[in-house]
Each structure stands twice: as structure tokens, then as C-alpha cells.
């Protein structure tokens, strides 16, 4: 029995190790190659930099100068911060309303949000792009509203699940203590939602920051372009014309903020995902 369990555990560990390597390898390869010269990247992409191949910050400097990095970084940061803030704030309020006010309208709203999660982006991207241009949303401020729409489904779903587990009596106690509905939400409900809010923020931040297709369609490759578009536009041209070193360096810089954000908040992800699963 014990040996059987040990074999099973070992198999699980091996599987998890292989999966970890598979997920981490691309990041490690980008990081290693961002410090190597272009020639060595194509010669030996999987070997770490050594005294011969190491070029220091050269790739980073090249990338900065060629890719309009700071401007697109600022665009990405603006869009991500305001989209995520809007999603967290507005969808938590929506979910609170849906859960606490039980009627046909709120039930229908909830089903709409859940349904929006399962509609693939590719299905709506042409009409969405058309209307984004019609409504003058093809700018960094406008795209925030589009992200709010796309992010609302999953976020409302997650917040609703958690709010259901908050006893109504806590809100009633707040009302008796003198809270208006707005104060009840901001002083009592929202602080309780913190773990879920952080989870929703991380999931949406990763998606918005890394998104390529939507900003490419709506913002294009002009001065409003976001970081993923900027990296792709500036550093890859026709075949054989790629500056792989600068590309790798820019990719490292592009993924760095989101990794730091994730590391800071990751303990809340587990809390947020399991919150409400069991009655406390």
C-alpha cells in the first residue's frame, strides 16, 4: 500500500516537474537570450550566456531606441490600470446588486454576464472593431470601456460566487449602525471582497497587459499602440531582418511588470479562487 502510494506520488511529482519546466522554459530562454549577441541567439538559443556570448545591456539599449518603448509602455500601463480598476469596482458593485436584489431582471443580467464568458473574441471582433471606430473608442481611453465589457463576464461571475457566501446579517448590521447603501458597500462589503478583488485584478491585469489582438484591431500600430504591438512592429520586419536580441530584451521588460504584480498579489489568488467554496 505504502509502495503504491510512493510510486503514485513520484509519478505526480515528475509530471508536475515536466509541466513546470514546460511553462518556465520560454521565459528562461527569453531572459538568457536577451543578454546574448544576435549571432549566438540563432546559433545556440538554449545555452546560457557566457563570457563570449554575453553582451550586457546592449540589447536593452537597442530595443529602447528602436521600439518607442516608453510611449507604448505608458499606453499599456494607462489602459491596464484604468481597465482593471474599472472592472474591479464596477463588476463588484454589479455582482452585489445581482446577488442581493433577487428578481427576474437581476437573474437575466447574471445569465447575460455568464453567457458573455463563453462567446469567443473572434466571433465578435469584426463588429466590435466597427462599432469601436463608429463610437470613437479607438483611443486609449475608449479601449478601457471595451475591456470593461470583455472583462465583466468572468469578474461578475467570480464576485457573485463570493458575495453569496457573505452573510446578509453583516450588511444589516451595517445598516443599523448607520450606513447608507453606498457606505455599506465601500466600508463593509468591498473590504470583505478584497481577496476576490485582488484575484480579479490579477487575472484581468495579466490579460489586458498581454493582450495583442484587441489593441491591434482598435488602436492599430500608430502612436496609441500598446507594448505587445510595439515590440512586434518595431523589431520584426521581413524574413531575416529580425533583431532577436533587442526583441528578447523588450519581451523581458514587457513581462517584468506583470510578473512583479503577480508575485506581490499571488497569495490572494488562492484565497480568492477558493473563497466561498466552503461555509466558514
Amino acid at each position: 500500500m505504502k509502495t503504491k502510494r510512493r510510486i503514485r506520488n513520484t509519478a505526480v511529482y515528475i509530471l508536475l516537474f515536466v509541466l513546470s519546466v514546460a511553462f518556465l522554459a520560454p521565459i528562461a530562454i527569453i531572459l538568457m537570450n536577451s543578454l546574448k549577441g544576435n549571432f549566438y541567439i540563432s546559433q545556440a538559443p538554449f545555452t546560457p550566456p557566457d563570457s563570449e556570448t554575453f553582451v550586457g545591456a546592449e540589447n536593452f539599449i537597442k530595443g529602447f531606441s528602436q521600439s518607442d518603448f516608453m510611449r507604448s509602455f505608458a499606453n499599456s500601463a494607462f489602459i491596464t490600470v484604468f481597465s482593471v480598476a474599472g472592472i474591479v469596482l464596477l463588476t463588484s458593485m454589479t455582482a452585489w446588486y445581482i446577488v442581493r436584489v433577487k428578481n427576474k431582471f437581476t437573474r437575466l443580467m447574471y445569465y447575460f454576464f455568464v453567457f458573455s464568458m463563453i462567446v469567443p473574441f473572434q466571433m465578435v471582433m469584426y463588429t466590435m472593431t466597427y462599432y469601436a471606430f463608429e463610437l470613437q473608442l479607438n483611443n486609449p481611453v475608449g479601449i478601457v470601456f471595451i475591456y470593461l465589457g470583455f472583462g465583466a463576464g468572468l469578474s461578475v461571475f467570480m464576485f457573485s460566487g463570493f458575495i453569496k457566501s457573505i452573510p446578509n446579517e453583516i450588511e444589516e448590521a451595517a445598516i443599523i449602525d448607520g450606513c447608507s447603501p453606498i457606505k455599506t458597500f465601500f466600508l463593509v462589503v468591498f473590504p470583505i471582497l478584497k481577496p476576490t478583488a485582488i484575484t480579479v485584478a490579477i487575472l484581468n491585469a495579466m490579460w489586458v497587459w498581454n493582450d495583442y489582438l484587441l489593441p491591434y484591431l482598435v488602436l492599430g500600430s500608430g502612436e496609441n499602440k500598446t507594448l505587445p504591438v510595439a515590440v512586434q512592429m518595431a523589431l520584426t520586419g521581413g524574413y531575416g531582418n529580425k533583431d532577436m536580441g533587442a526583441l528578447m530584451a523588450m519581451l523581458v521588460l514587457a513581462i517584468l511588470p506583470i510578473i512583479i504584480f503577480y508575485l506581490f498579489c499571488q497569495k490572494y489568488i488562492i484565497k480568492g479562487v477558493v473563497a466561498g467554496a466552503v461555509k466558514g
Binding site: E169, I170, A173, A174, I175, D177, G178, C179
Partner: protein
């Protein structure tokens, strides 16, 4: 001053589809400790929530201090409420939980601190002021909930089954704490419970409710000794009162004949029962009013012999379960002898302790 008056108050849900309280009239005096008691779904919590303003009133008028409060929001009613699940704010420390309502009132910081420290001292919460609710035991959490209500110095304290999540020992402890708190604060307390022991031990007066209707509103002693109907008689007292169908006959004195025994009606009760001669009535005998022949007793003019189906030793007393006329009954007698299943037990009844009910209306005679 904080009197609470219900005048023909009604409460229904779903646009009148479900009526929980058809017509409630009740007057709670200033500084009184009133307990609302009844089985689940009897409307006691709804009544409390109407006082709190958490439920709209469908009809009638509710007064707090002679002022109609039907449309006054909870925060302006000067009430405080303690919930069954404590309803503490999990993201705040004990101190912040207690200070929350005062902060919303924009009370000066120093005054808030004084009030919180005063409540914490009374409730023995001083060492826990920096803790979050999750780091407290059930009893401590309940005390924080009480403290949160106390600091507001409200006109009315509302408590909705505040002890039902605690274990038996802690419940007894908290029961006496709440009673002492009431004496100390000299405020009107309205307390909801389904536990009749809590009601009996804490209340000045008890409202017994069933299906949204007040069955009796009186002192604990009156409810126990003079229940208004079979529902109250059965609800108050544990184990509950035994009911025996009987027929009242006048042959060599007034007698109530039941299956297995015959009860001679005492003179003190004969006058009330004269209208029921040759009619069916119900006799109510509390388990603790059965007497074992071992006990020195002279007045007992009624005896019955039963076969013990189950005997539960509770220390100095034994609960004997027996069946008579197809119904299960319980007698609680003083006995230190071991009683086995099937043993024949002789039980005596003092007729003065027997209650009489109209079989048709269930009302006490």
C-alpha cells in the same frame, strides 16, 4: 423611555401572497426584558426585524416611544441589534467593530475611545481589542456583538437568537451575562429565541407565538402555571406537558375518566368545569408533576400504573417514557432505583397540579 407598541401590525411577503403575521397587537414597557418565543416559522424573528426596520410593515402601526416608526430607517430608530451569527465585520478589529457606529455618527475620537473601553471592561474584552473576529472564540465574538450594541447606548436592544451558536455551557454563562447587562443598562430588551429555557430564565415577560399569532403574553410563572391554551402548555416546560383525553362525569363527585386512570376533580376547580360534565376534555399533566409512591405524599387521589418503555437517569431524577391510549408520555420522578424496560411503575398525580383544556378549542378551562 422606550416603549414599543404594535397596533394591528401585519406582515406579508410577495405582494400579500404569504402572510406571516396577520394582526399583531403588543405593548412592551420601558426597561422591560421581553422574550419572543415560538417554533421555527412562527414569525418571532420577523417581528423583531420589523422593530429594527429591516422588514417593511405591511399594515398597522409600530410605535417606539409613542412615535410611529413604520417609515423611519433603521439608523434613525435608536436601536441596536445582536444577530444570531454575530454579524461582526471580519476585516475590522474588535475595537473598530465596536467603534464603527460611533465613527459614522462622527463622534469625537476621545469619546469613542471612552465608550469602547467602557463596554470592553464590562464584557471583559480588553485583552482582545486588537484582534480580528476570526481570532476569537464563539463566546468572545458574541460579547463583541453585545459590546457593539452597548456603545451606542440605544433606546432598545434587539437580540435575535444570540446564543444559539454557542455550546451548552457557554450558553448558560452568556444567559446570565445578558440578564445582568439588562439590569445594568436599564434599557428595553427584546430577545428572540426558540429555546424556552432561555425565555423562562431571562424574561420579565414572554410572548409565545405560533403562526404569527400571539398565544399568550405574560410572566414566565404565569405561562408555566396558567397556560392559556394547549399550545402554550406544550411549548413551555421541558419535557413538554402530557395530554390525556378524558371525559368529565358526575358520579359520586366530579371525576375525569381517562384510559388507565380516573381523576377526582378538586373543589377549587370544580366550579370552572361544571359546563363540561358529560363532555370530552383534555387533561394536562407536566412530567415533573407525577409523583413516585416512594415519595411521602398524602394528597394523591389519582394513581396510574404504567409500563416503562425507556428510563433516562438525569441525576437525582428519572424520566420514564410510557405509552397510554396510543400516545407517548413522560413522567419525571425522583428515584435512585434502576428502572428497566417493561417494569411496571406506579405513578401518583396531585389533582391540584392538573390542567384542564377544552378539547374543541384547545383553550384552558
Amino acid at each position: 423611555m422606550a416603549t414599543i407598541t404594535f397596533r394591528n401590525v401585519a406582515k406579508s411577503f410577495d405582494n400579500g401572497k404569504f402572510t406571516v403575521i396577520p394582526d399583531l397587537s403588543l405593548e412592551i414597557k420601558d426597561k422591560e426584558f421581553v422574550v419572543l418565543v415560538g417554533p421555527s416559522g412562527c414569525g418571532k424573528s420577523t417581528t423583531l426585524r420589523m422593530i429594527a426596520g429591516l422588514e417593511d410593515i405591511s399594515g398597522g402601526e409600530l410605535f417606539i416611544d409613542e412615535k410611529v416608526v413604520n417609515d423611519i430607517p433603521p439608523k434613525d430608530r435608536d436601536i441596536a441589534m445582536v444577530f444570531q451569527s454575530y454579524a461582526l465585520y471580519p476585516h475590522m478589529t474588535v475595537y473598530k467593530n465596536m467603534a464603527f457606529a460611533l465613527k459614522l455618527k462622527k463622534m469625537p475620537k476621545k469619546e469613542i475611545e471612552e465608550k469602547v473601553m467602557w463596554a470592553a471592561k464590562i464584557l471583559d474584552l480588553e485583552p482582545y481589542l486588537d484582534r480580528r473576529p476570526r481570532a476569537l472564540s464563539g463566546g468572545q465574538r458574541q460579547r463583541v456583538a453585545l459590546g457593539r450594541a452597548m456603545v451606542r447606548n440605544p433606546k432598545v436592544f434587539l437580540l435575535d437568537e444570540p446564543l444559539s451558536n454557542l455550546d451548552a455551557k457557554l450558553r448558560t454563562e452568556m444567559r446570565s451575562q445578558i440578564t445582568m447587562l439588562h439590569k445594568k443598562l436599564q434599557t428595553t430588551f427584546v430577545y428572540v429565541t426558540h429555546d424556552q429555557t432561555e425565555a423562562m430564565t431571562m424574561a420579565d415577560r414572554i410572548v409565545v407565538m405560533d403562526k404569527g399569532v400571539i398565544q399568550q403574553f405574560d410572566t414566565p410563572q404565569k405561562l408555566y402555571n396558567e397556560p392559556a391554551n394547549m399550545f402554550v402548555a406544550g411549548f413551555i416546560g421541558s419535557p413538554q406537558m402530557n395530554f390525556f383525553d378524558a371525559r368529565l362525569e358526575n358520579a359520586n363527585g366530579l371525576k375525569a375518566k381517562s384510559v388507565g386512570f380516573e381523576l377526582e376533580i378538586p373543589k377549587s376547580k370544580a366550579a370552572f368545569l361544571s359546563d363540561y360534565i358529560n363532555k370530552n376534555i383534555v387533561l394536562g399533566i407536566r412530567p415533573e408533576h407525577f409523583i413516585s409512591p416512594d415519595e411521602a405524599f398524602e394528597k394523591g387521589s389519582c394513581s396510574l400504573t404504567v409500563s416503562a418503555e425507556l428510563a433516562e437517569m438525569t441525576g437525582s431524577e428519572t424520566n420514564i417514557h410510557f405509552e397510554l391510549d396510543g400516545k407517548r408520555h413522560i413522567a419525571r420522578i425522583k428515584s435512585d432505583k434502576k428502572i428497566n424496560r417493561g417494569d411496571k411503575i406506579k405513578l401518583l398525580v396531585d389533582p391540584e397540579t392538573v390542567h384542564f383544556f377544552d378539547k374543541e378549542t384547545s383553550l384552558a378551562i
